[in-house]
């Protein structure tokens, strides 16, 4: 090196400069590409879900002229008993036949009957029960179409042919005829928000799962927030440096990284088999999720307590407050916004959790809206899992729609956590 002139050194450096700058550009480009990949994944995920699921918020409905004919119903008056065995299916079939009079063969008739949802007779029963004077009269009503018809009608928007699936030519011509007479239209799908689960896609809804999620989250919040805050206070403000405290710290950090399904095994073995709590209940679900979210809440609460400056504590102590008074009257109120943010994030995590709840039997087929924390229930993510497994094409749409509902809840929760932090956070 020593025998090189300054000019030679400069030359060598400049020779390599080009390739070094290229490498710099490449490296930088890789960084940009990685971020772009991540952003692309987010966009792909959301557009995929939204494009698949937006259809579920509308439902094809068919208008029929219904005659509550006592002869067809096989009843003479409306009362509790007669309603249970009245032939409402017959009434729906009569109405369909009246709309398409030229249908004659047996197989065609059978096919015609599948045009509207199998839930239609129950709608009629409820109507007649509410208005007994309708017996013998005629009225025009809208019914949800069967899921195959619904899928077919919705696919007509994308292509002239449409997705046929199990829809025959015959059915397609009926749909066309109904469409031309204005007796078939797409309406907002209220069923999706008011019904529980069903094997028929057009009758399936998320209300039971939503209520189940709500109850489970209430149990989780009621247990994990107080326990988590208390634990954080102890560890941050009281804990002496000893083995037990170290053990607690190690445990909390480890639990935060234990796979969620392991908490499900714990719930199954301890809460259900040992304590014999009811299976599928929000109570047990909430207990399991409490154990799962506790580390998150403890860790964020500790961070909130840590951010309160020591001068506050010293000032309170100087005024003669006891340690407990310092914490409860001064430190805790100041740390509360941070703790609430942590709690909301923990709850969002619990709301999206599926695996541990499968272990404790929350995968049951639940039609009724649960009334309390010991009733059998399911939660929204599990409902999504169940629908994703269903073979009917119309369930794909409903699964995506349920995902959209779940994601919007999560977005609202996380956004409120961010807002809360921005609004209430104090800089010392």
């Amino acid at each position: 090196m020593t025998d090189l002139t300054q000019a030679q050194v400069r030359e060598r450096i400049e020779q390599r400069l080009g390739s070094r700058h290229r490498k710099e550009k490449l490296f930088r480009g890789l960084g940009i590409a990685s971020i772009a990949f991540g952003v692309f994944a987010v966009l792909l995920l959301f557009t995929d879900i939204i494009s698949k699921g937006s259809g579920a918020f509308v439902q094809t409905a068919v208008q029929l002229e219904i005659t509550y004919d006592p002869a067809v119903l096989g009843i003479e008056e409306v009362n509790e008993e007669s309603l249970t065995w009245a032939n409402f299916t017959g009434v729906v079939r009569e109405a369909l036949r009246a709309r398409f009079p030229d249908v004659s063969s047996r197989s065609e008739k059978r096919e015609l009957n599948t045009l509207v949802s199998t839930g239609a007779p129950f709608t009629l029963r409820d109507r007649l029960q509410a208005n007994p004077e309708l017996l013998g009269k005629t009225e025009t009503l809208w019914f949800a179409a069967d899921d195959d018809v619904d899928t077919f009608v919705k696919s007509l928007d994308d292509s002239a042919e449409g997705f046929r699936g199990r829809t025959s030519d015959q059915m397609a011509s009926w749909v066309q005829s109904l469409k031309e007479s204005g007796q078939l239209e797409k309406r907002f799908n209220t069923t999706f928000f008011t019904n529980g689960d069903s094997r028929e896609p057009e009758q399936a809804g998320i209300r039971a799962a939503l209520v189940g999620s709500l109850l489970t989250l209430l149990v989780t919040l009621a247990l994990s927030f107080p326990i988590g805050v208390a634990a954080a206070i102890y560890l941050e403000e009281y804990a002496p440096k000893n083995r037990w405290t170290d053990l607690i710290e190690v445990n909390i950090n480890n639990l935060a990284a234990v796979p969620s399904i392991v908490f499900g095994l714990l719930g199954l073995a301890i809460f259900i088999n040992f304590f014999e709590l009811p299976r599928s209940a929000p109570l047990v679900g909430g207990l399991v999720l409490t154990l799962m979210t506790l580390p998150t809440i403890i860790i964020s609460s500790r961070a909130a307590l840590k951010s309160v400056p020591p001068s506050i504590r010293e000032a309170a102590m100087g005024m003669g407050a006891s340690r407990m008074q310092v914490v409860l009257h001064h430190v805790l109120p100041l740390a509360m916004p941070g703790m609430l943010t942590g709690a909301i994030i923990g709850m969002a995590q619990a709301l999206g959790e599926t695996a541990p709840l499968l272990m404790i039997g929350m995968v049951a087929f639940i039609v009724d809206v649960p009334g309390g924390i010991t009733d059998p229930a399911t939660v929204l993510p599990v409902q999504i899992f169940l629908w994703a497994d269903s073979p009917e094409r119309a369930f794909v749409e409903r699964t995506s729609a349920a995902i959209m509902v779940l994601l919007s809840f999560l977005i609202v929760m996380n956004a409120s956590a961010v807002l809360l932090r921005k609004k209430l956070e104090r800089r010392w």
Partner: protein
Amino acid sequence: MQTPTLFALLLLLVLIAYGTGFSRAAAAARGRGGMRKLAALPSYYGTHTALWCGLPALLLLAVWLVFDEPIIRALVMNGVADMPETIAGRDLLYAQIQNQAAGNLFGEATPQVAAAAERLTDLRNGAQLLQTLMVLILSVGLGAFAMLRFSPQLRAREKVEKVFRIILLGCASAAILTTVGILLSVLFESLRFFQSVPVTEFLFGLHWSPQMALRADQVGSSGAFGAVPLFTGTLMVSAIAMFVAVPVGLMSAIYLAEYAGKRVRAIAKPVLEILAGVPTVVYGFFAALTVAPFVREAAAAVGLQASSESALAAGLVMGVMIIPFVSSLSDDVINAVPQSLRDGALGLGSTQSETIRKVVIPAALPGIVGGVLLAVSRAIGETMIVVMAAGLAANLTANPLESVTTVTVQIVTLLVGDQEFDSPKTLAAFALGLMLFLSTLVLNFIALHVVKKYREQYD
């Protein structure tokens, strides 16, 4: 009295106790001329009384609720003359007795069941009465005891704070209880499993088919519990996931920490974090319905056969899920590298990328390794994506286009639905859970240790 009513009554008693303690102290203060003559504020006297009144009674109630059903069951079943041999038979008999007692009759009950049901009803009524009486006596008695001990010299605040402190310690110890609970629950069932299936067969067996025969002469009657195909499946899916997540996560962290301006950072970071907030069941749906068909078509386009549920699809999506995990952990450690190291390297004339590759990354390496280990443990424990997209067939294969199964998938399939807790099939899930818990525990332990060591180095 029903338990919720009892609970409400107890709450009322506690309120009354607080009020009594408070007013007694306030009266004493007035009689002696001012608050300063008391050893504590009146509210502490109130809380002191309320704690005496409520806490022991509440503990008794909790213990009672845990143990009353098992004890009642043992008492009822003791009186049954001809006890069934098997556990399942006993469970069935007890269910019959319970149904009979609840009035849900299905046909004529045998005299034995009818008698036992009557005993059950009697015992339950008796237990409830006893519970109500004991809880109320304890509550009122101890509340009165606290009032009797009242004196203005009583250091109520110190006593109350001591109790609070113990409660706080109890809450903090919940984490240890949880770990112990997890260990106990998976350990006991695993030990029962290893009684019927040797440990060596489970750990080294190459064939997994947990179906147990209902009849002895059935085809394929003996279940096989060799977990190697599950371990390799788990490792393959995790490896694919890490193959996606580590480079992408690390490079985005580097870009965000070293290159990006404030505005890019403010937008890109939260967008990446969204990936961490999406529930895993959503990723599973995405993997099964969008990525898996795409993988199959792409494979067909280059002349390869891919099954409809492939390790590749599950691994790719899992990788995307883990990106923010890797990137935010690496971001933290890269930011913790002192600026002086960068300034030194830049001052010697290296380009920015050379500084990063030769100085910043080596300095941050322990932290990054720790973060990657945490990400691996998350990939191993991830459940919903693989349940929905990786398949159930326990193939021992190295081809990522074939369907594989993982430890978590098998836990779910073995435990969802009806279970019998004396069959190796159900118990196998707990043995798998034990493996999962231990392996993630070791990974977490190493990772947390490395990260902690690293933090201390620069703090």
